[in-house]
Point group: C2
Amino acid sequence: MAELITIDRPDDPRLYDYTDLTDVELRRRREPAEGLFIAEGEKVIRRALQAGYPMRSMLLSAKWLDTMRDVIDASPAPVYVIDPELAARVTGYHVHRGALASMARKPLPEAGRLLAGARRVAVMESVNDHTNIGAIFRSAAALGMDAVLLSPDCADPLYRRSVKVSMGAVFAVPYARLTDWPRDLNAVREAGFQLLALTPGAEAVAMDEAAPHRLPKVALMLGAEGDGLSARALRAADTRVRIPMALGVDSLNVGAAAAVAFYAVATGRPES
Amino acid sequence: MAELITIDRPDDPRLYDYTDLTDVELRRRREPAEGLFIAEGEKVIRRALQAGYPMRSMLLSAKWLDTMRDVIDASPAPVYVIDPELAARVTGYHVHRGALASMARKPLPEAGRLLAGARRVAVMESVNDHTNIGAIFRSAAALGMDAVLLSPDCADPLYRRSVKVSMGAVFAVPYARLTDWPRDLNAVREAGFQLLALTPGAEAVAMDEAAPHRLPKVALMLGAEGDGLSARALRAADTRVRIPMALGVDSLNVGAAAAVAFYAVATGRPES
């Protein structure tokens, strides 16, 4: 059972995991380096624990003690009880979800291990917006993607905003980070996957003609909002596929495009 | 050609259209009542003009005068030139897109008129989040939906945030507001549309089995994030359809669900 510790000074060093949460640049460096991430709100904290992430500590206002009682009882991590005003001074914002937890990261799996058991994989290049990363993981979980592979410059799926937008799906869909981009895509192909690059380019095959749901193993490549996939990523793909667009419309939002493509890859069935 | 007027006082009454833009509650009442909406940024302002909305005035910092020169020359509306600091005091935020326009609303078309020329229509119930409304319009435009019908309590597609998130698609996709909900859905059916209600409920037909792309006229009903469609809206539908979900996942984000459903309705083709 956890120890309950009331804290009354914002500079208490035990709160160090929770300082300056609104400083995105600082936190995106600090959190991976220190091996932690922040789970916000009851639901997300519970999902992180269910996914096997060890808890380092929890930060609660007093009125959340009852709601989180079972979590507190089941964990050895210290629980810091803190006035909401004080919490705002430490974190930089008003924590209206009332509960924060600092969770320990786990080592990421090797890409090869994820590919071994997978049939549908999303591959993201340079998606560096935390909201988009979270939204894409949420859709990937809902639409049955087995795993996600990230290019080296993708944003951190465990950043607070990504976790929140994903509704905890970043814990449910296993992911790995590729280190040599785009060369590591060769290993994906060698594992039996057909590499489909999603692009609005007119030269691409329409998604319904490509009929990716008929392929035994699909790796669906997605680029960032705006720029899309790089030229070298497009060259590394087997096939370019596009979502048919109405005339005169630039593009879908990357989250919407990902959802449509996941649906086409995972759900489309021969009888349709 | 517009008159250029340099303004140096935040309480200048000519700036009234632009006051307190960050007060969502105030603005969501004021803007429809006063027959205006705010377009933000060069691209959105140009799209609003192309769509035929008359300009009431424009608010620019001096460095945007060159970029907007052709717009200024083509419009009789006054252009207020204002220091960025002063603009922030009037509007309540730092206008980093540099240009705002106050545009006059146009009367909304009758639903019946929209239905007459349409084959694929999105019907939203109680979608009262401006970001979601904007995202859904963007996907509707990209995926070829012909029109949008809104229940009486849906948020305003012309609210600044909706316009921005939609990338101006709220100007491109015609929409109407139903007044008697859900009874007005009868008129949609009488216009020859099959009413499909999107729901995660297990009793619903899977989207690929429903094969909505084969139907001549489809009205796709969407509810709000979280609650989904109301029981009475579900009862008013002809068929309930669901996007097949992976086990244990609650739901897709409403924007992602809309994109998938629009794709299935508009793009799915018999040969797939």
